[in-house]
Structures are given as structure tokens and as C-alpha cells.
Symmetry: C2
Subunit: 100 residues, 2 copies
């Protein structure tokens, strides 16, 4: 499995709108096992995105999907920046039927 943990900063006051766009594009991504969008509890403009994919190739392929391309276009003006992005290798856990 391939994972990404990203911290994104929204333009001031636009986190809600930005999260709506991110959430709307998360269905129907082949190879995506989990894609969760969360507010940072201590920072009003920070967003955490945690993703789990079957492999890195499925993540890369998702970036070309029309729904994802459209989301990137809509989201861009609301994004102040990516503050951190970590690549992970999820080994397992609870809550996802495909994980052990």
C-alpha cells in the first residue's frame, strides 16, 4: 500500500469551501482505499488529507481523472500552500476491510 499525509493551508477564511471541493472529488478513484479530509483542530486555516492507495501507480493515475482535474482547478485559488507532505507505507489497521 501507498500512503500520503498532507497538511494544506487554505486562503484565510476559505477552509470550508476548499474542503467541500476536496470531499466532492473523492468518490470513484480506482485503487483508492481511503481518502479522509479533516480540519486541524488548532489552526483555523489548516487541512489534513490522509490517503491510502493500493500502490503509488493508482495515486499517480488519479491525478489525471477528469473529476480530480476539475477539483484541482476549482481548489487552486483557495489554497495558500502545502505545508507538509509525507509518503508512507501503511501496513494495516482497523476500519478498512481490505486492511488486515
Amino acid at each position: 500500500m501507498f500512503g500520503l499525509i498532507s497538511r494544506m493551508r487554505a486562503q484565510a477564511g476559505r477552509r470550508g469551501e476548499l474542503m467541500e471541493i476536496l470531499l466532492a472529488s473523492t468518490s470513484s478513484m480506482p485503487g483508492c482505499l481511503s481518502y479522509v479530509v479533516a480540519e486541524d483542530a488548532a489552526d483555523a486555516d489548516a487541512i489534513w488529507i490522509t490517503e491510502i492507495w493500493e500502490d503509488e501507480a493508482s495515486h499517480k493515475a488519479s491525478l489525471s481523472l477528469p473529476v480530480v482535474q476539475a477539483a484541482i482547478g476549482s481548489a487552486k485559488p483557495m489554497i495558500a500552500g502545502f505545508e507538509a507532505q509525507t509518503r508512507t507505507r501503511p501496513l494495516g489497521g482497523a476500519g478498512l476491510s481490505v486492511l488486515r
Copy 2:
């Protein structure tokens, strides 16, 4: 929902053992919607734990479960430290049937 994103450091060379313990304790935690344990792809001793709970109370209650208490006891000697822990409010996403 209540989320935690934690970066833990294993004692040098003990990440695999530590992850096995963390993974073994993740079943049967009431209110736990997701608990994923992942290696950091760029740091041989770093572990990421991403958790989603129905609410903060269910997370707190889990710390008293015998299975979790036992895991904490076994894991402690292998943990060098917690490097970061962020509290989040997951709003939704893909991959979890309870999320929108």
C-alpha cells in the same frame, strides 16, 4: 468525528516489532472508525498512526481497554518518543462506509 495524526519514533531498529504490537491491538475498540499504522517512507524509525473516532470520548475510553493497556505496556520499551501529534476533525471522505 475526532481524529489524531501522530508521528512516533521507534528505538533504532525496532520499528517492525513495535508496529506489530500496535496493529495487534486495533481490533474491537468501540467507537473507532479507522486506525491505520504506517511506516514513514523516508525515515527508517518513524511510524505514523492515523485514527478516526466517533468522538473524543470513545478515544479516551479506549485507553482503558485491557487490550490497549497491554499493548502500551509491551510497546513502551520500543518507543523513543512521540514527535508530533495533531488533533483533527475529520469531515468525510472515501473508503469508510460511515463517512459521507
